[in-house]
Amino acid sequence: MHVNMKIPFKQYCTCLTFITVLLMSMSIQAQKKSTQKDSIIHMSADLQAIAYGKVPKREVTASIVTLTGKDIEKNTVFSLGNALYGKVPGLIVDQNSGEPGNDLPGFSTRGVTTFGYARAPLVLVDGFIRDLNSVSVFDIENISVLKDASATAMYGIQAANGVVLVTTKGGTEGKTKLTVDFSNGVQSPTRLPQFYNSANFAKFYNQALSNDKLPSLFSDADIAGYTDGNRVLYPDVDWIKEMVKQNAPITSLNISASGGNKIAHYYVSLGYLNNTGIYKNTEINDGYSTNSNLNRLNFRSNIDVNVLSDLTLKLNLGGQINDINAPRMATSDIWNRLYDYPTHLFPVYALPGLLGGTAAFADNPMGYINNRGYREIHNRFFQSDLDLKYDAGKHVKGLELGARVGFDNYYTVTDGWSKTFAVYQTTKDPISGKPVVGAPIGANTNLAYNSPYNDAQNRRGTAELYLNYIRKYGNSHTINFLALYNQTRQIVGRENPYNMQSVNAKLHYDFKNRFFADLTTSYGGTETFAKGNRFGFFPAVSAGYVLFDQQQAKSSNAINYLKLRASGGMVGSSNVGTRFGYRELYVGGGSYAFGNTNAGASTITEGTIANPDLSFEKSYQYDLGIDARVFNQVDLSLALFQQDRKNILTSQSTTVPALFGGSLPSVNKGEVRNRGIELSLLWQKQFKHSGFFARLNMSIIKDRVVEMAEEVVPQGSEYFYRKGSPIYYTYGLDAIGFFASEKDIANSPVQIFGPVQPGDLKYRDRNNDGIINNYDVGPIGNGSVPTKEFGLELGFNLGGFDVQVMMQAQLDRNVNLASYGNIFFPFRTNQKISTFVQEPWTVQNSATAKYPRLSTLENANNYRTSSFWLRNGDFLKVRSLEFGYNFSSLFLKKTGLSMSRVFVRGMNLFTFDKFKYSDPENIAGYPTMRSVNMGFKIQL
């Protein structure tokens, strides 16, 4: 597939013109022979959204999975992404924090395909590039995930990471339908890290000091005091319990109306969401709350009007207002304090109203969350798009011309009020033994307004012109030709505008509604690269053949429907993380102090050397698929794919001599191969009063670095290279136990990370050179990206009652605890010790110890990535579980409603895993939420 894809833009256009003219003249020939009947195209009810259009599922030759709005609505989520766990085979969704307004999950389609800058799929809402979270879950008609080159080639230079198409609801002809959805619930953290109490802390701390050959800090009397003493002198504060509540309310209300007549259709909706955070005592201040809170108001108005019999106009408007309240201090700082602040140093309050604290620990979490003021983040989305379509059928049969424009605006700004607070240290009076409260540390100040900051005004404007032509030749041949010109400009704050330009075309061929073929091309460019490297040509071909279908197969046949499809093509990714890298650049350097004071003088320094050859990533994608229906009740879809990502930016610094002295640019030389299999099974059956369904989604995807610049290592250490391993594979030292004794240390290879003692981690000398250093780092296990992902959805109904459950599992993943030092590495800067630490090494338990010797100091030998810290991160989560009741039609008739349903729904109720200590997907920081909701849906 190594064709030179650099065709000048104009030649490409001329070529397209030629094809268009050719097709048109063919159509004129055909027209003469055709009859009126021919123009009726068979439209199955089962339409699938594809790039720039919808086609019957049967005709799709690319790899596309579509979810309907109904699948999405059954989730109580605040970001659309959180409704997609396990729903689409090959769409990997990783849950993050549960913080209101900051809970967007991570995404990728078909696993990891690049180590380059952009890894997330392109998201389009109603055909325009937009944020997935800018749409309410209630406004969604369907979501399609386009996975192979044939499906995505129309998006050419931006398509390599896959594409997600979101279509919002529209109105249909008929009586006005008014729908009200309401749900209300409470949420609590799934799992939070746990820490030892003061008495255990003191025991472990003494043990650690003795390991460090330092005198003990806590006497037996102290330990007894912490066990059951005066909590003023011997505090024992579980900060997480003190500051985190278990019942934060969530509310969601959505009202929509839709309907239409022959001239116009409409869908309008208004939604409200409230998501409350889990901090405690946030209402102690007069007039304001410091709790995290998201208030969202969103609307949508989708209207299509038949202006003339052959001219339709479609206007979609959508908007969202998010007001987020949060404690003044950064979320990560708050959680670090909750994890780090010792239990034994001071009580929450030294005296009623006076917060406890010491000079070194002056950020008493109670004050840190509630007495530092609050932040308000305001962000607003506004989206509009207009589509004008002219049916030129009366001039040329099957010809449609159209123009579309989209204009979006996003604005965000933060402001708020801040203050500081004082803490008081309690000490024991040496004579009376009574607690004495010392002078204030810090000061209580009044709220001061923080002028707006972090503001960004982002805009995106897109214009498109298109031509669509459908023609049937005789009884067997149909072609559909679409040509489209796209121009997009995005303005992000003060950055230079992002511009894109492309001409795209697609030719669809249908032979007797049995064999289908598609040729899709895009020629597009961005200003990111130098002239000559700016544009790329992205072609894809695909074909599908329906072997069996209902008409053909006898009812006794096991196979009712069988389609084979295959595709191949090349798409690109222009977001390589650096713009204008083709030009030489001088940038601001660090400041340096001259003169009599430490005032820095600003500097300029040579930036990265220009790389005029910089270009986009290319992804060569091949896909084979089978769609089938068997025993008249099971739908099956299977896909095998391979993606070869080339031109990934990779550094040169590992090979160029240091004496060059400059900073060399990355070059398009990296390569990754990714292969996988995806399976989707749907078994459903409807009986007279009941029914059930079971859907299994499964994907097994493995990537492998083919080419990447790497540090050159000496012979014998080749395991160091990442070439051949998955991108996110964890590399580290191989821990083979703890040093048993000084003699063991003396007889083992030297570990150069720092002096070692018995009880420290002992590593394997992979290259047998007698030294354990960074060159003994090699592959130790999977990273946090799973190889296998499963989604299982089950449901049944009996009469009006129904139950549905959605489970998601990720297998072959690990968590690297060395990345969360403040939880898993105790005491280092006087912080706590978590209950993860069990049976730390001592001389007595040296054979059975489960954790290295404790230390009160930094330990560069133990506290680094090694197989010891890599723990199994597999999990199965029950993402949603819903019990519902639909009122009988008799009841509905009486009330005049067309539908009425009540439900109880749990989100993230259960997690089954081996890690157990905290949520394997979100180990530290603002936790993931579990919620229980009750609600109803009424349709009038």
Partner: protein, 588 residues
């Protein structure tokens, strides 16, 4: 009908083409807001900022106080001058003590190692580009441009010297490289690198626009001609010293011996070194530099080491405020009034180098018992430079109100309270804290003393040493040392010393005068005295007796590793592995 079809096609395609044409420049990048080579040299203002950038990595080359090397434990701690808290794993000096030094970290990572090999080359490239392009600046006079060229030359010379002393022969790069083919440059012989440095120094000295001293105090921290004279003296001293000036290398390197040794002993190098030290002193003193001696014998040394020229320091030839780690807590022993990390604390070995002001020494070989309630008795008469450099039991630590005295002792038994800064109370290990640069210590937080790289005092020491080696203990040699000693209230050197005695005396004097200024590590290596790094490294145990007297007992804290191949640094492992012919130093 036939006509209509082309009509629609034409409309669509015309609009497409119109779209493209009207937006012909759609994908052109808007005006550049950042600089390129042309725009950066179009204004003096920018060129000056490029010049300032040359100093970016110099901060790290400066005195130990702030350089954040070796996991913040500092270079002094891998000499017999000082020691770091040994339980603190992050202080990578501990690895040096244990002997686990290798090329994977020692010259790779600035925070953990002793050097960052790459940074020398980064600075050289910057200086070469600036030097080549400065003439393009339209709005600067020939004087200004000439000065910048001189400064660039001085920076390049300094970088080569810093590599020369660490690695021996290194590649010589004479222009800013752009072509991948030019990147393959082998190591030059030690001889060539030495000559290259001297040539660069001479070029800067010959530059008429390069000032002897910064014309404005605000420019303190920029290189001057007086510094280049000093650098030349230092380079020649290193070249004349036994490590390089020998007919055989410190360790056999076969065919590559010329990379690490001159391979012939040349006594004349000492004569040249003496001459260049003499010139450096003369040039500096003609141009307004002088040994600090107007602040009284107990304070002169402090002003010379810690203060800026504005505050009366006439002695510093190059120094800066720039610091990497500005937390003085690294320097404090643990458990003081504000805590401390005990990163760099003086050893007993270093304490024993100080003499009393009458020229005698304290006998530490048996336990010293002080009079009752007089903890500072052993230290009272020591060199004023000791009191400025070292904090010890009983000394007044915080001099401002409220004052704070150090109590670095343990009680003899449970009936005698442990001192608040002693091993038991403060969980500390050593009986001495660093005081140099912390004098008048008041509170924690950001702290930016002046950090000297070169002082005139060093030139006198260079002179004395070079003369002694070239022509024995002459009057000029003795009086050069007297200059340093008398300004700190110390007696003159005994004229009875022979050449070996004076050599030993000068080495001791350098260690005292240049304490913590990054000299000791390289001085010991160039003098081929590496075994002193082996130790034993001693500390003193201070016990308060029941009657209020204190006992001071010297004890061995530890021995340290030292290997012959450590005389020169290793090149970074991954640099050698790139396979372009960089030959690793022997033994690494």
């Amino acid at each position: 009908m036939k006509l209509k079809i082309p009509f629609y096609i034409i409309i669509f395609l015309t609009s497409c083409m119109t779209g493209l044409n009207s937006c012909k420049k759609y994908l052109e990048m808007p005006a550049q807001t950042s600089f390129n080579t042309d725009s950066v040299f179009s204004k003096y203002q920018n060129a000056e900022r490029l010049l300032f950038d040359l100093y970016q990595f110099q901060g790290r080359a400066l005195a130990t106080a702030l350089n954040g090397k070796l996991g913040s434990s500092s270079v002094a701690t891998i000499t017999d001058e000082a020691i770091c808290f040994t339980a603190q794993n992050g202080y990578t000096s501990n690895n040096v003590y244990a002997g686990s030094v290798n090329s994977t970290w020692f010259t790779v990572n600035g925070a953990n190692g002793e050097d960052v090999y790459d940074n020398h080359w980064k600075t050289i490239r910057k200086a070469l580009i600036l030097k080549d392009n400065i003439d393009r600046v339209p709005d600067a006079t020939a004087d200004v441009k000439g000065r910048i060229k001189g400064e660039c030359t001085a920076v390049i010379a300094l970088e080569y010297f810093e590599m020369f002393k660490r690695y021996g022969g290194v590649p010589i790069v004479k222009k800013a490289l752009n072509d991948a083919e030019d990147f393959v440059i082998p190591r030059a012989s030690l001889d060539s690198v030495y000559n290259h440095i001297i040539n660069l120094c001479d070029e800067a000295i010959a530059n008429p626009y390069f000032p002897a001293k910064v014309p404005d105090e605000k420019e303190f921290g920029r290189l001057t001609k007086a510094f280049v004279y000093g650098l030349k003296s230092r380079t020649m001293l290193y070249a004349a010293s036994p490590l390089f000036n020998s007919d055989k290398p410190y360790q056999d390197f076969g065919a590559n011996n010329k990379l690490i040794s001159f391979m012939k002993y040349d006594k004349n190098l000492w004569t040249l070194a003496a001459k260049s030290a003499r010139e450096a002193i003369a040039y500096a003193e003609q141009n307004g530099y002088a040994i600090v001696k107007n602040f009284g014998v107990t304070r002169n040394y402090k002003v010379a080491c810690e203060d800026v020229p504005k505050a009366g320091n006439t002695e510093v030839l190059y120094g800066t405020f720039q610091g990497i780690n500005q937390s003085k807590l690294y320097w404090l022993g643990r458990g003081t009034n504000v805590g401390g990390y005990a990163a760099t604390e003086p050893t007993q070995n270093h304490i024993e180098k100080y003499q009393n002001t009458d020229g005698t020494t304290v006998n530490w070989n048996s336990t010293i018992t002080t009079p009752v309630n007089d903890p500072t008795a052993p230290y009272k008469k020591l060199d004023p430079r000791f009191h400025i450099s070292v904090a010890y039991n009983g000394c007044l630590w915080v001099t401002t109100n409220p004052t704070y005295s150090l109590e670095i002792y343990d009680g003899v038994d449970a009936s005698v309270a442990n001192g608040r800064n002693g091993p038991i109370s403060a969980k500390t290990q050593f009986a001495y804290f660093t005081r140099k640069w912390l004098n008048g210590f008041e509170a924690s937080g950001v702290w930016t003393p002046m950090s000297p790289y070169m002082r005139l005092a060093e030139m006198y020491l260079n002179l004395a040493e070079a003369i002694n080696e070239a022509s024995g203990p002459t009057a000029e040699a003795f009086s050069a040392i007297d200059v340093i000693r008398t300004r700190s209230g110390m007696p003159t050197v005994s004229r009875t010393l022979d050449q070996a005695g004076l050599r030993k005396f000068i080495e001791n004097e350098r260690s005292i005068e240049l304490y913590l200024e990054n000299h000791r590590y390289f001085d010991v290596k160039r003098m081929m005295m590496g075994d002193v790094f082996k130790g034993p490294i001693n500390d003193v145990r201070v016990i308060r007796q029941k009657n209020g007297a204190y006992t001071y007992t010297k004890y061995k804290y530890h021995d340290r590793a030292w290997f012959t191949h450590w005389y020169l640094h290793p090149f970074p492992y991954n640099e050698v592995n790139k396979g372009y012919g960089l030959i690793q130093n022997p033994g690494w």
